[in-house]
């Protein structure tokens, strides 16, 4: 019996060491090299840490969307990608997601996803050709998405609302 208990204790200790080793191994790349996907506290921090000059932030926000972003995720490796999530003032659910991705990379995460597209149209955004899509999110609430190319970046905005506010937000992001 004593041997069995000791064996169990030894096994539990080995598992604890393995979990710790996995944690350390997971943390190590961020020490060796900056730029892996991680959370940032502010847009300024993203700019300074990842040495990125052009980050597109809207100057217009509808009253229903809370500023500052509830979560900012960014990476510079293997391609630059920035995700800004904004919560709804009342529900605190994510109601707007802005992504800025370089080199035609895929958007790393889609917190809001257009599950159903009812209408798709091109839209002229201060001389740029944008694609506007209107439909429903996974919970069948109205959702809309707009995306366009801005220099080497692709900007995508998705909002849990009809497109009116979305167009105003997108319009406020470019000169």
């Amino acid at each position: 019996m004593r041997k069995k208990v000791l064996g169990l204790f030894y096994f539990a200790a080995a598992i604890a060491i393995l979990v710790a080793a996995l944690k350390v191994t997971n943390w190590l790349p961020s020490v060796l090299q900056e730029g892996a996907m991680k959370k940032y506290g502010s847009i300024e921090e993203v700019k300074s840490k990842l040495k990125v000059r052009d980050i597109y932030v809207p100057s217009y926000f509808p009253q229903s969307v809370k500023w500052p972003p509830s979560r900012i995720l960014a990476q510079s490796r293997p391609y630059f990608a920035l995700l800004m999530e904004f919560s709804h003032v009342e529900t605190s659910d994510v109601s707007l997601v802005i992504s800025q991705v370089a080199d035609n990379g895929p958007i790393p995460e889609e917190k809001l996803r257009l599950a159903q597209i009812k209408e798709r149209a091109t839209y002229s955004l201060k001389g740029r050709t944008a694609l506007l899509e209107v439909g429903a999110c996974e919970n069948e609430l109205p959702c809309s998405r707009i995306s366009w190319n801005e220099g080497k970046y692709k900007l995508t905005l998705i909002i849990k609302a009809p497109p009116f506010d979305l167009l105003k937000i997108a319009d406020s992001m470019v000169n």
Binding site: K4, N26, P29, M37, R77, P78, L83, E109, K111
Partner: protein, 329 residues
């Protein structure tokens, strides 16, 4: 396709996570065997089975349980995210994902040339070739079979001075033994060697290893599975040793035969290896000898032949592997 994008696709995630999951499983299984002092080769083989089979199903299973497991949010909270390593740039020359792909390629080639092609070749040859054999009129073999416990097997003697011993299973299972080996063994040793082959024939009636091998082929790229499957094959030999000892009650005789098969072992001197092929052959011989010696040692020391039980430990290990690997993406 960009390599980093490949490792974000389902196929890429499957390959990368299968590797990680098998590595974690191998480490946990190794610790479990050590912690509980498991010596029975049958139980050890059962534990190795987790390392070989678990990574085949783990990724799809986890994805069904949680489709968002591949998302950034999940990865950020995970225990280990392999993409953090794969996307690392080494001195601005090469990314780790290239080295990772190279490792998978080398493993695939080893699998192809050391396992797949030889097995196919052997299958084709054995269906065409007829072994030149004498039937068991050999007086030494006859004598060994006289007192053989249980059903007497069919034994054929091949006219060859080399030490050859193997069995063919199928409709009429036969044990093949070379005349050189028959002459080198006494009656007890011959009986022990026949008993070992009978154990292989018996085990082949429920061909667990063949079934596992067929499934393990899906993991042809996985170096951890490659090593673990070979360990399972080695455990199979020990299981057959135990069965042979149970039949003959003479572990010493079997140990003596193994000693005869043991190559004259020279110290492994890497400086003397002139080419990579010599090095590879020497390493193979070395590992073969180590395996033979461990078999001889357990026969001489008398091992515990507990094959049953240990299911609780097995299940606990499986659960721990399942839980930890869920957070390894």
């Amino acid at each position: 396709m960009n390599i980093s994008n490949f490792f974000n696709s389902y196929l890429g995630m499957y390959i990368a996570q299968a590797f990680c999951h098998s590595l974690v499983a191998a480490l946990i299984v190794d610790r479990a065997i050590q912690a509980w002092g498991i010596t029975s080769p049958m139980v050890r083989q059962r534990f190795s089975l987790i390392v070989v089979l678990f990574p085949i199903v783990s990724f799809p299973l986890y994805q069904i349980m949680n489709p968002n497991r591949g998302s950034v949010s999940f990865r950020l909270e995970s225990l280990f995210d392999i993409n953090r390593w794969l996307n690392l740039d080494l001195w601005g020359i090469v990314t780790v994902n290239i080295l990772f792909i190279l490792m998978l390629l080398v493993t695939s080639l080893v699998f192809l040339f050391q396992e797949m092609i030889p097995i196919l070749k052997h299958t084709l040859e054995s269906s065409e070739e007829e072994v030149e054999e004498e039937t068991a009129d050999n007086p030494i073999v006859k004598k060994a079979l006289e007192n053989f416990p249980g059903q007497k097997p069919r034994v054929s003697v091949i006219d060859d001075d080399e030490f050859i011993l193997f069995s063919a299973t199928g409709k009429s299972s036969t044990i093949f033994i070379s005349s050189g080996l028959v002459e080198a063994l006494d009656t007890d040793q011959l009986q022990a060697s026949i008993a070992h082959e009978v154990a292989h024939i018996e085990k082949n009636k429920r061909p667990l290893l063949t079934a596992v091998y067929l499934m393990r082929m899906l993991m042809f790229f996985n170096p951890v599975v490659l090593v673990e499957f070979r360990r399972m094959v080695q455990e199979e030999e020990k299981i057959c040793d135990d069965m042979a000892v149970e039949m003959t009650q003479n572990p010493g005789a079997l140990a003596e035969i193994l000693r005869k098969f043991d190559y004259k072992r020279e110290d492994l001197d890497l400086r003397k290896m002139k080419s990579l092929s010599t090095l590879s052959v020497s390493l193979e011989d070395y590992s073969h000898n180590v395996h033979l010696e461990s078999r001889i040692k357990r026969l001489e020391e008398g091992s515990e032949h507990r094959a049953g039980g240990e299911w609780l430990k097995f299940l606990l290990t499986l659960v721990v592997i399942g839980v930890i690997n869920y957070f390894v993406v």
